[in-house]
């Protein structure tokens, strides 16, 4: 709430309590306004610490200590492949990047989930239907293939909150949206020189 800025600390505390009460009320309200559908149940309305922290309206800010703690615990929980085991098959990765289905109550839970990368990112420069919510990843392979680059990319995909605590991007590994193999395939799609993502780069 913008009014917070000009108000004295005591009132500010009071405001904070009101807002947190409002957030709780919103959670209860949402639960009472929804119904289980197919395999999607009301359990999904329950938020973890990170989700609660990142649910604040734009005008409210979270505290830095909590943000750091959340970031660190996200980083600590990322399982790291061995150095020669980061990259899968870029063609399978391309299919994952294009597939927007998975985990909606209208989806078939028997089918593998997609990563829907194109919803938010530009990748293959020849694909015109890409979103702009995230940065362009065209030519991503040019950022290098060092171990630190592999690790950085892996962590971003597994749990992006290890870097940017309230990033909009899903926690593809940590939330179990994609399997380790699917993530390695997406890694290859991003980094393999033969991948169309890197088609504009000289070999």
């Amino acid at each position: 709430m913008t009014r917070m800025k000009t108000i004295k600390p005591l009132v500010l505390l009071c405001c904070f309590l009101i807002n947190s009460a409002l957030a709780d009320e919103a959670a209860m309200l949402l639960k009472s306004s929804m119904a289980d559908k197919n395999f999607v149940t009301l359990e999904r309305v329950e938020r973890d610490a990170l989700q609660s922290f990142c649910s604040k309206p734009r005008s409210e800010e979270g505290d830095i200590e909590t943000a750091n703690a959340l970031r660190e615990s996200a980083r600590a929980a990322v399982p790291m492949p061995t150095e020669d085991d980061f990259l899968g098959d870029w063609q399978r990765g391309e299919a994952v990047a294009n597939n927007g289905r998975g985990l909606q109550y209208s989806d078939n839970p028997e089918q593998p989930n997609g990563g829907n990368c194109y919803a938010c990112h530009q990748l293959d420069p020849d694909e015109v239907a890409y979103g702009t919510l995230g940065p362009s990843l065209t030519g991503y392979g040019a950022r290098g293939q060092s171990l630190s680059m592999l690790e950085y990319t892996w962590i971003k995909l597994w749990n992006t909150h290890a870097y940017n605590v309230c990033s909009h991007m899903p926690r593809f590994g940590a939330a179990g949206i994609l399997s380790e193999q699917q993530l390695k395939d997406v890694m290859a799609y991003l980094l393999d020189p033969r991948s169309p993502v890197n088609s504009g780069l000289s070999p």
Binding site: L29, L42, E46, R58
Partner: protein, 268 residues
């Protein structure tokens, strides 16, 4: 007689209506959209809604003509643009769908169960009664300013809850409404995403729902849009007319207030 007059009125409105508004103008699909001209199949659904309003239905064999949408019993012109609003008889803030549900139960004697059995079309359907009624009622507010109630404390708390819900991140993907609709100038794949937290984006979106979705061949309502956004957020199914559905629509309507209703629109 009233039905006949309203028929003439709505036909006149249709003749005088400006080009059907597309929700977005973003260049790449301009050629595609221009080829549609001003032919919006929503006209069928609007007609059906008008017929339904004046038809006797339910165990009480009563029409909806006695339904008070906020401007008095039976007043439909301009009512949609002032929803959601607080209603003393239900002591609730209501959107058009929850208010219609109330009238169907109270006036027509229908049950909540039958109204909720299938409020929105499924694939292959041509439309539901709820969709038709909402389309016609929205048409009755075409050209009028969006002016949801904010005088009553319940209306203001509905807005505040709506804002909280808009930013509520949950589910396996950590999505909230704000994930896609909290910034301007962004798009998902090729679809422009209005920033619903700002007046301009909220106005563009709110004024054009309900809309005929050409991808589905169905007129969809704002209530359905809320439900479907939650589906895409990987959340459970939002109940039509529920408090959360109303609060989110209050949030959007208030952000859009002052803009001109241009629904039913035509959308992807």
């Amino acid at each position: 007689m009233i039905s006949w007059c309203a028929g003439i009125l709505s036909s006149l409105l249709l003749l005088l209506a400006p080009l059907w508004a597309w929700a977005q103008q973003d260049g790449i699909f301009d050629e595609y959209r221009a080829m549609f001209g001003d032919d919006n199949p929503a006209v069928f659904v609007i007609d059906e809604g008008e017929e339904l309003w004046f038809s006797k239905a339910g165990p009480n064999s009563t029409s909806l003509e006695g339904c008070d949408l906020g401007l008095g019993a039976g007043v439909v012109e301009g009512a949609y643009a002032q929803l959601p609003r607080y209603f003393a008889d239900t002591d609730r803030v209501q959107d058009v769908e929850s208010r219609l549900e109330h009238c169907m139960i109270e006036l027509q004697g229908k049950t909540r169960e039958e109204i909720h059995a299938k409020p929105y079309s499924l694939r292959g359907d041509l439309g539901t009664e709820m969709e038709a009624l909402v389309a016609w009622l929205a048409e009755q507010s075409r050209g009028l300013a969006i002016a949801p109630g904010q005088a009553h404390p319940s209306e203001r708390s509905s807005y505040e809850l709506g804002e909280q819900l808009f930013y509520f991140r949950a589910g396996p993907h950590d999505f909230s409404c704000a994930t896609c609709h909290g910034q301007s100038g962004k798009r998902i794949r090729l679809q422009s995403l209005p920033d619903l937290t700002a007046h301009e984006g909220a106005a563009e979106a709110y004024s054009s729902w309900p809309a005929y979705r050409i991808s589905q061949g169905i007129v969809r309502t704002m209530g359905w849009r809320m439900r479907d956004c939650f589906r895409q957020q990987r959340m459970p199914e939002l109940i039509m007319g529920s408090e959360a559905a109303v609060a989110l629509q209050t949030y959007l309507a208030v952000n859009a207030a002052g803009a001109t209703m241009a629904a039913p629109g035509l959308k992807r």
